[in-house]
Symmetry: C2
Subunit: 194 residues, 2 copies
DNA sequence: ACCTGAACACCGTTCAAGT
DNA sequence: ACCTGAACACCGTTCAAGT
């Protein structure tokens, strides 16, 4: 009895994985094999555990996918903050748009999870925080009164362009890079105050 | 023997459903319950048949979803063709953009299937055909040499705006209709020849 | 020639039992 | 306190057997 109690207290729970490891494993599976590859069993195996154990750290698969999306948003936030800085407003806008596109290319499936979620409910506030630098630059170009509409216009164009690119809508007629540059130039002048 | 042969020939196959009925049922389930609701069993029940029978008309679930997307594209094509017509190029562009948005609102899940497919491979040529009126109007505004880039810029903005709207990205700060109008006005002037 | 029940492998998820 | 095997309901898909 005393023996058993002491044993119970001394070996209560060897943690064999962690939430960050689980989210990272799910993200890797997502990028390498798409949403269908993000199986509770596959994630569990990647972190060296059995599927039922995942439910100690995560409510269900949907919540796990939401956490993957959140992690991607956090990454995007860092990238955008790092890309912002030098030059005039036009150059800054260009740099931010390119950083968004590079993020999408480096983690296309995660990008899709964030900007074209299927059922997953994700926290929009983090995404808005990530877009703050863009909002600021756009406000400079369009003026404070039109900052919101202008930012939405630019964001809509950028996310639409990138998801078209990821979906292979640009197969014919190459020069996607040029089309992106053309678009950003046009958008910048379109929202600029006369 | 003779009896059995004659019977076999006279009752060879009472068809209890059809491919169009199956695709329509799948589309209805998609709109009412999302992708997860499009189950082979649920589709089969809707058309009065058992799940295995569906495989007589459809290779698998992915192909069925692709057919749903194709049907949506065909609908979109009709809508865009009908919306095009009167007024100057600017007014026509406005009408086409609004028709796209109304399509998205009437069948949001199908819209997502077409413009933000998960794994489904869908025929891009039909989608390009549906977008022909838009391409034409844009060519008039931007000039033939810049028609392709301009059309891509407008399409990217429109699809990006609409998917943001469907995903609830515009919760705060109302007047989404105004933002759409603002965007289309800005885009039209942005791609117009000076 | 189409339809069906039965079967298979594979999901997500739960839970009692282990340590 | 976490981990596990066993179990459950539910998927997509196949196939031999019916008519």
């Amino acid at each position: 009895m005393a023996m058993r109690n002491s044993y119970t207290r001394r070996v209560p729970a060897p943690e064999r994985t962690s939430l960050p490891a689980i989210v990272a494993a799910a993200g890797d599976l997502l990028e390498s094999g798409g949403l269908a590859a993000v199986t509770m069993a596959a994630v569990a195996e990647k972190v060296g555990v059995r599927a039922p154990s995942l439910y100690k750290r995560v409510r269900n698969r949907d919540e796990l996918l939401a956490l993957v999306a959140e992690a991607a948003v956090a990454d995007l936030r860092v990238r955008l903050a790092g890309a912002d800085g030098a030059g005039d407003a036009c150059a800054r806008l260009d740099a931010l748009a390119r950083a968004l596109r590079e993020f999408a290319r480096s983690r296309p499936a995660s990008y899709g999870l964030v900007f074209a979620p299927d059922d997953i409910r994700l926290d929009r506030t983090q995404l808005e925080a990530a877009g703050a630098p863009l909002f600021e630059v756009v406000a400079e170009l369009a003026g404070r009164e039109h900052a919101l509409e202008a930012a939405r216009t630019v964001t809509a164009w950028a996310t639409g362009f990138i998801s078209m690119e990821l979906n292979g809508a640009f197969r014919l007629g190459g020069e996607v890079d040029e089309a992106f540059a053309y678009g950003i130039r046009r958008l910048a002048s379109a929202i600029s105050q006369r």
